[in-house]
């Protein structure tokens, strides 16, 4: 349960929520990763960078959860 002042209406608003925009926007910007080079462990950029965005998503949602609970 969130701690809140009595009488103050409950809300899910928080400046931290803006952090959620990052993992939504990044994977949709194809110009960032639509290329073969540079490769990482044999993976073309297109694949390894998009897989790396998973970590960005996990980090952002975790931070928002911890900072707003």
């Amino acid at each position: 349960m969130t701690t809140r002042e009595p009488g103050q209406p409950r809300s899910d608003r928080s400046p931290w929520n803006w952090l959620l925009v990052l993992p939504i926007a990044l994977p949709l910007m194809t110009f960032l990763f639509n290329a073969d080079e540079p490769r990482l462990l044999g993976f073309p950029l297109f694949y390894w960078l998009q897989i790396a965005f998973i970590a960005v998503g996990v980090a952002c949602t975790t931070i928002v959860y911890r900072m707003t609970r």
Binding site: R10, L20, T30, P44, F46, Y47, I54, V64, Y65
Partner: protein
Amino acid sequence: MNGHTTELVIFTLLFLVVSGMGFVAARWRRPKDIESLHEWGLGGRNFGSWITWFLVGGDLYTAYTFVAVPALVFGAGALGFYALPYTVVVYPLVFLVLARMWSVSHVHGFVTPADFVRARFGSPTLALVIALTGLVATMPYIALQLVGIEAVLKAMGITGHLPIIIAFAILAAYTYQSGLRAPALIAFVKDTLIYIVILAAVIYIPAKLGGWGSIFDAAKAKFDASPNPADGITLTAANQLQYITLAFGSALALFLYPHSLTGVLASKNRGVIKRNMAALPAYSFLLGLIALLGFMAIAAGTKPVIGATGKPDTNTIIPRLFDQMFPDWFTGIAYAAVGIGALVPAAIMSIAAANLFTRNIYREYLNKQATDAQEAKVSKLVSLVVKVGAVLCILLLDPQFSIDLQLIGGVIILQTLPAVALGLYTRWFHRGGLIAGWAAGLAAGMWMLYLIPNPANGKAHFGGSAFALKNLGLDTPMTIYAGFLALAVNLVVSVLATLAFRAAKVAEGEDATSRDDYFADEGDPRVKELDLSAAH
């Protein structure tokens, strides 16, 4: 028999173990009385973080996904990888939305998205529209799970429909008895098997094929040689917009499916949902690796099984790759993982469809005074009917028809977004405006899908979801996801029609929810009230 005996024995054994678990699940976390939808249909609404993670993961990442996504990558390359950004984008996107849905549903005892819409907009008609859309979108999805099992059976050289009928009869029996507890328990086995198989596959197979670099090079060579300009290991100018809108549109649609919401509403508090939004991307990582199996199949020179019609069945690509690469006993485990992977979502989807029928058609129109026990009874029976329907779809119709319907399903479920998702944030829309927008979005979506051909299999209509912008008179080779464009039409019409209805002073429905309902959590007196009423 053929050379697949070991695989078949292991497959059958694991299948039987899981079926046994399905029946025992009725006694797991035993309720005082399973005869209410909160118990049968939502597992007591009391699942913690771990169970929810397995359940929702098992539900969203279906057997069909495991078979179809790598098949798409095998055929088209980079475009098929849209499944990865789709499942990265979806969790931050719904992080706040689902918490609101959980709260308002627990305060008011909602079981389906249509329940919420009915209370929010005071419109049984709008709720019926949402419920029917959900039913139509979910049914072919259940049928597709059978396609997943069939792909595995075909790869083991088993043809004919009897094994599928037996598998679904067992599934129907334990879902009837145990409700949502059955897939929740089986999901542990399903997901564990899938993780083992895929992690083994991405370590073992590249080692045999000369490393990841040569796998991607082999794929590149294949696509460079093919006459199709849209394929390749990166996107082309023509399909970038399709990639973006397909990933984003699919992310918007995912939690509008009634079965996705079922897993969310079964969790015990808002924290469970939010923690899961951070933990579920583990499955996205898995899905990304699974997609790359398509490239491994190219490098390994895997050939799909030739179907009864004489055409190659690309859905058998991954089962064939496993057969080619793994020792027999491990192939058996891999096949079992896909087969069991079909059972979990099929069970949850049939429960969600049954709940929609019971709450928004049976209780609304057929028996307004239905008791909890009557609701549970009807839902259990409908879950059987739904599964018989899915089996009949596969037996009587071309499986291609289910695939087409599922494609359409994704486009039409998106049309419930303004009422269900935006409805959680604003009551600005008029109920009539939402119905008008839904109808317009549906019509636009169907028209676009009708215009899309598929040169690969010679279909003139409903050949995919990539709508060519030149159909709108634009001079460009670009394509866009039809569902995305249909949603835009829906939103514009919803806004305009809302203004028109309001100007004409057509009565607004009554809003049964209040602002505080959207933030209530476990321990809140209003949420507790529901638990007491559900336990009688």
